[in-house]
């Protein structure tokens, strides 16, 4: 009996240990934030960014660490893929384990701000007066700025100078939609391919369509306007005429660039991040500003990351975090970031001047960024992702011939209204 009793105890104890270990695991998750907060003075500050291409030995890592050292702390940097970063940020906020600093893609700022997980720039006492307003606006929700752009990139129209010369097209002649379409006709007439862009069913598709959409005078609050239809008809017209390949429907921006690098295409819509690759291409390249419908430069959407500071339980950490943020956002800091990445335009006039002094070739890109517009601006905030999904679906439906541009945009407007109400 005694023997049996002992066995019974052992079993019960085993069960208790197992369950105890499990509950220890689960409560550990909740305490994680506090555990990190314990070593405040000269401790470790966490930093997330979407640049997994820059590893622990990169210039970027060194730059981040330098800002930490200047503030007297070590920075623990973790890089995520862009989309994963938004989800990670939301999860960590839910668990109360937000990092001290996040660099996040600008359209996600308003989504994160909407959850109440970000501090405002005012609360943090950061000065944003020098930042270009069109860039800062992407992070403004209800009149409050929730982050500072660390740099901006945008879209422009790359051209293949050899193809244009062969077809007898002068890039300077491209000033509006009509002259662009005329150039495409001339290029395809000479046996080359016209233009390639990305119409894929993701955010990239909307990103690439917006310069034409805005350049037509359309507004994201009314997707079915005549101007919007005109913009979409411009794209479908190019496909129908054979000026653009059918593959644009599934092209990501990377695929667009690969197509352009084959040397067959006269034009490709792509971003600042390809500047180096364009310089190394086997043919001579150049860029023209994306034309608006009736002339002038079309506003292209801004890309690029914002530096944001999530709310912490332990507000004493904010002082050091502010120092780190300030280190990243001085004019010199902006230029350093721009050169580290080779595709960022500083968001302040000072920074832009310094950058141009170092690299005058970037002049057209500085102009493009000055004309650019945040996707979440115009008070759209976290409504933008819903509208954008409706928009790219309409682009897909129209380009693939499933619907006419007018029908597709009509449906998109209905979906956007249903999704944002």
């Amino acid at each position: 009996m005694q023997h049996l009793r002992r066995k019974h105890l052992i079993v019960a104890a085993t069960a208790a240990i197992t369950l105890g270990a499990l509950s220890a695991c689960s409560s550990d998750g909740d305490d994680g934030g506090d555990g990190m907060g314990d070593d405040t003075a000269g401790g470790t500050y966490t930093w997330w960014d979407p640049y997994p291409q820059h590893d622990g030995s990169s210039d970027w890592e060194a730059r981040v660490q330098a800002c930490g050292e200047a503030a007297g702390v070590t920075i623990d940097r973790t890089a995520y893929d862009t989309t994963a970063l938004t989800n990670q940020a939301l999860l960590s906020a839910q668990e109360g384990t937000s990092p001290d600093v996040i660099l996040i893609d600008n359209p996600a700022v308003s989504t994160l701000a909407d959850t109440g997980m970000l501090t405002t720039v005012d609360e943090f006492g950061l000065d944003t007066s020098a930042i270009d307003e069109n860039l800062l606006n992407a992070g403004v929700v209800d009149g409050e700025a929730y982050g500072i752009p660390i740099g901006a990139n945008t879209l422009s129209l790359y051209y293949n100078a050899e193809v244009l010369a062969d077809a007898g097209v002068d890039p300077a002649s491209i000033t509006d939609w009509e002259s662009l379409t005329a150039a495409l006709e001339q290029v395809t007439g000479a046996g080359h391919q016209g233009i390639t862009f990305s119409g894929i069913g993701t955010e990239e598709g909307s990103f690439q369509f917006l310069p034409w959409f805005w350049g037509s005078g359309a507004d994201l609050t009314d997707l079915a306007s005549d101007e919007a239809v005109a913009a979409l008809e411009l794209w479908t017209g190019w496909l129908d005429e054979g000026y653009a390949p059918n593959t644009v429907i599934n092209n990501s921006q990377n695929t667009v660039w690969e197509e352009f690098l084959t040397g067959n295409f006269a034009f490709a819509e792509n971003g600042t991040w390809q500047v180096n690759s364009a310089a190394e291409a086997e043919f001579e390249t150049g860029i023209v500003q994306l034309p608006a419908r009736n002339g002038g430069v079309a506003p292209a959407p801004t890309g690029g990351e914002f530096i944001v500071a999530p709310v912490q339980e332990e507000t004493a950490r904010y002082d050091v975090t502010r120092e780190i943020v300030e280190c990243m956002t001085t004019p010199e800091g902006f230029v350093e970031t721009a050169t580290t990445f080779a595709y960022y335009i500083p968001p302040t006039a000072d920074g832009q001047e310094q950058l141009l002094a170092e690299n005058a070739d970037l002049e057209p890109w500085v102009e493009a960024v000055r004309n650019a517009k945040g996707r979440t601006s115009d008070g759209l905030g976290s409504d933008y992702p819903v509208i954008s999904e409706a928009l790219w679906t309409a682009v897909q439906n129209a380009l693939s011939g499933a619907a006419t541009p007018a029908e597709a945009l009509e449906q998109a407007q209905a979906d956007a209204e249903a999704g944002t109400s």
């Binding site: 049996l4 009793r5 066995k7 019974h8 105890l9 052992i10 079993v11 019960a12 104890a13 085993t14 069960a15 208790a16 240990i17 197992t18 369950l19 105890g20 499990l22 989309t83 938004t86 989800n87 939301l90 906020a93 839910q94 359209p107 996600a108 989504t111 994160l112 909407d114 959850t115 109440g116 997980m117 894929i200 069913g201 993701t202 955010e203 390949p245 059918n246 593959t247 429907i249 599934n250 976290s382 933008y384 992702p385 819903v386 954008s388 999904e389 679906t393 897909q396 439906n397 380009l399 693939s400 011939g401 499933a402 619907a403 597709a408 979906d415």
Partner: protein
């Protein structure tokens, strides 16, 4: 099935917590004392039960919880999602995407399974008669299984490219006009189904082939003595004797195909528009495909998929039971 072990698990837990003071086991309340070996059984089962609860019951419960609340990103972080009952399901059912996604899911799933199964079966029967190099050939048929999905899906996307794809260039040599495989609403679903069939053949081949090994050779001998030809042998011997294996292959194939996201996402992202959007793609897109995660409708669609898979699972059990009763 999960609810019962969960109760047992808790009981073991409370007994364990009281383990320092060896009080009477709570099982006594039932008026029946658990004998030590029963206790031992519970003890040994506890890790497994805890595992099941943590990694199966909890996620499932969480998915249901997500689908009956309105989890906006804000509510997700603040944890104050409003209870909305079946509202998300109503939204899903009344959405204009629903009929398309359901029809696409049906076409994609049944199209894939029908061809995967028949081709897998044909190959299994073919390889049954061992010949020189049959082993090597059979191994080659497994390649689709070994490749990472991202690789095979991207390769299919390149081959089916409208302008530069190898398939169009071969067809072009025979005078067929350019087919916009992935970019036309008429062929996008067909294209991803073809790729998925190719991916699923090895699975069917392997299981059916191993099923064939269990059919004794004497049966075929007897059949051929009775004058049955190859065709007759297949329909009167192979097919009926392979029925249990076929049933489980079809059921597993169905569950695997219902949840396919990666192949379609890499090839078309469910587009153009919604023309290759299945229920699982729809769920993925709601949750992760846009700038704004919409977890609640995504979870609702996910639950719908689980229910569909369950229905077919029960159907399978029912058929099996009837078969056993008949034999």
């Amino acid at each position: 099935m999960t609810s019962n072990p969960a109760v047992v698990g808790q009981r073991a837990g409370s007994g364990g917590a009281a383990g320092t003071t060896p009080a009477g086991p709570p099982g006594r309340r039932r008026g029946r004392t658990m004998n030590p070996s029963q206790w031992a059984a519970v003890g040994f089962a506890t890790p497994l039960l805890a595992y099941l609860v943590l990694f199966y019951a909890y996620p499932l419960w969480r998915n249901i919880d997500l689908s009956i609340h309105d989890y906006t990103v804000r509510a997700f972080v603040q944890g104050d999602a409003e209870f909305v009952g079946l509202h998300n399901y109503v939204e899903v059912f009344s959405s204009s995407t629903f009929p398309t996604a359901l029809a696409n899911t049906a076409l994609f799933t049944f199209g894939s399974i029908a061809l995967q199964f028949s081709i897998g079966m044909a190959l299994a029967v073919f390889f049954r008669s061992s010949f020189r190099l049959s082993g090597a050939l059979r191994a080659m048929f497994l390649v689709p299984w070994l490749l990472p999905l991202i690789v095979s899906a991207s390769t299919w996307a390149w081959m089916l490219n409208s302008e530069n794809g190898i398939i169009n260039s071969v067809l072009g040599a025979f005078g067929v006009e350019q087919i916009n495989w992935l970019t036309s609403p008429d062929t996008a679903l067909l294209s991803v189904t073809i790729a998925n069939i190719w991916l699923g053949i090895p699975f069917n081949l392997v299981i059916l082939y191993s099923g064939l090994q269990n059919i004794p050779g004497e049966v075929y001998e007897a059949a051929s003595l009775d004058g049955a030809g190859a065709w007759r042998q297949f329909w009167s011997v192979t097919f009926p004797l392979l029925r249990p294996v076929s049933a489980i292959t079809l059921l597993l194939g169905l569950i695997y195909t219902l949840k396919v996201v990666d192949v379609i996402w890499v090839m078309t992202t469910g587009g153009p528009g919604t023309s290759s959007t299945t229920l699982s793609i729809w769920s993925y897109r709601e949750a992760f495909g846009t700038g704004q995660p919409d977890f609640s409708p995504a979870a609702a669609v996910g639950n719908l998929l689980i229910v569909i898979a369950l229905v077919f699972g029960f159907l399978h059990l029912q058929l099996q039971r009837r078969q056993e009763a008949a034999s």
